[in-house]
Amino acid sequence: MIDLRNVTKLYDGQQALNGITLHIEKGEMVFLTGPSGSGKTTLLRLIYRDEIVDSGDITVAGWDLRTLSPGSIPYLRRNVGVVFQDFKLLHERTVRENVELSLRIQGIPHHESRQRVLATLKLVGLAHKADAIPAKLSGGEQQRVVIARAVIGNPAVLLADEPTGNLDADTAREIMDVFKAVHAKGATVCIATHDANLYRHSGCRVFALKEGAIVP
């Protein structure tokens, strides 16, 4: 589902990623770990085509991202739900509208999306805050809005960048349950985290990054 072969990414001549090769199977759940600055976010950004590789090959859900035309990028991204580390919520819109946006962008009309939005907000435990604006929510609650927005479109691939960074242990477990539920429905899930508790007993593969390379 996600294939990287010898991928390199440079920022201002500095290697952010250095010869990454990894294969994530369809329906697999994996973890990406490593210290701050090791390249986790950069790797995820390559996968949803927010950044372009400087060398190497990358294929996501059958799309060759090196040759992907700009007009096709939206359609790739609809298949890749992302839980952004910095949330990227629209502050003038309610929680409900933020979550619904994923569906609106895909042309799913309001009357069809209403129920799905409520169900997804329930899944992340935020149904009671549907009409609040994000600024009025705690960090953990905002995190859950982002997760709801990422999973509502049933994407083939779900990427999460430090999704439990703002959460206490209990809430983190609940959030992991959401990811497991999405994974159980068949999505390929990739979670970047430096919280070893998340993957210790998961039985999932863990890729450890260090200075832009995978450590064996």
Partner: protein, 287 residues
Amino acid sequence: MMEIRFHINTAASNIARNKGINLLTIFSITVGLFLIAVTAITLSTLKSAVREWTRGFGVVVYLKDNADQATVKSLKSRIEREAGVKEARFVPRSAAMASLKTVLGEDILEGLDENPLPDSIEITLTEDRLNAEFVRETARRVKTYPGVEDVQFGEQWVGALFGVARHFTLAGTAVGFALTIGILFILSNTIKILFYRRTNEIDILKLLGATRWFIRIPFMAEGIFFGLSSGLLASMLLQASLAWMSSGNAIPFVMPVTPFAISILLVLFGGILGLAGSTIAVGRIRL
């Protein structure tokens, strides 16, 4: 399919969020559209005045003294076959004298024991052919026909009037064109500013998989809204001005179309400019 209502909601909330710049834009476009309408009305008033004045300028064909009836008859029918001739009327010298007497008064002409006026044919041209060039051309041709002594027409007047009218038409068209360009410029600039105010939001939409058109459509809706509302305001302003001016007995304006049609046209033209201006704006923005 994209959902229209969603885009309109987005556009509406953007309009509400940027009241200052929006009011300024609508105000400027309103004034521009109003001036375009005023220019059009002025031009059509001027044109119809010129047409009215020149209607009086017939072409008079003076006949030779020795022209016999057969010559006159064939000349008259020949003139009637000329392009642009609406009517050719034979005026015998006695009738010419009689009308001269009613104009000048019996006394002045009393001393004349002989009628010095020639027979003539008065030509009326159809209105659509009333331009200086055509009148001059026709006069020159008719002058070569047998039995014709001379042809007269208000050459200087016709030429000057049409020259003036042509210059005004040109100037008016240029003004209208400049105003249109100005409106487009204001519109596309405003849309661009509104766009840049929302780059953060747009970046997020793109990351969520929004197509270019999904992002563009609300801005185009805003442009159309600006155009339509300015058109509406301009037509209200115009109707108010027309009502105010006709309340005194000022200039009798000649509308190019009915006042109602002008209102419709203003709103329509505003909407088209709104669409055009915002299309220019979103086309130039890199997405």
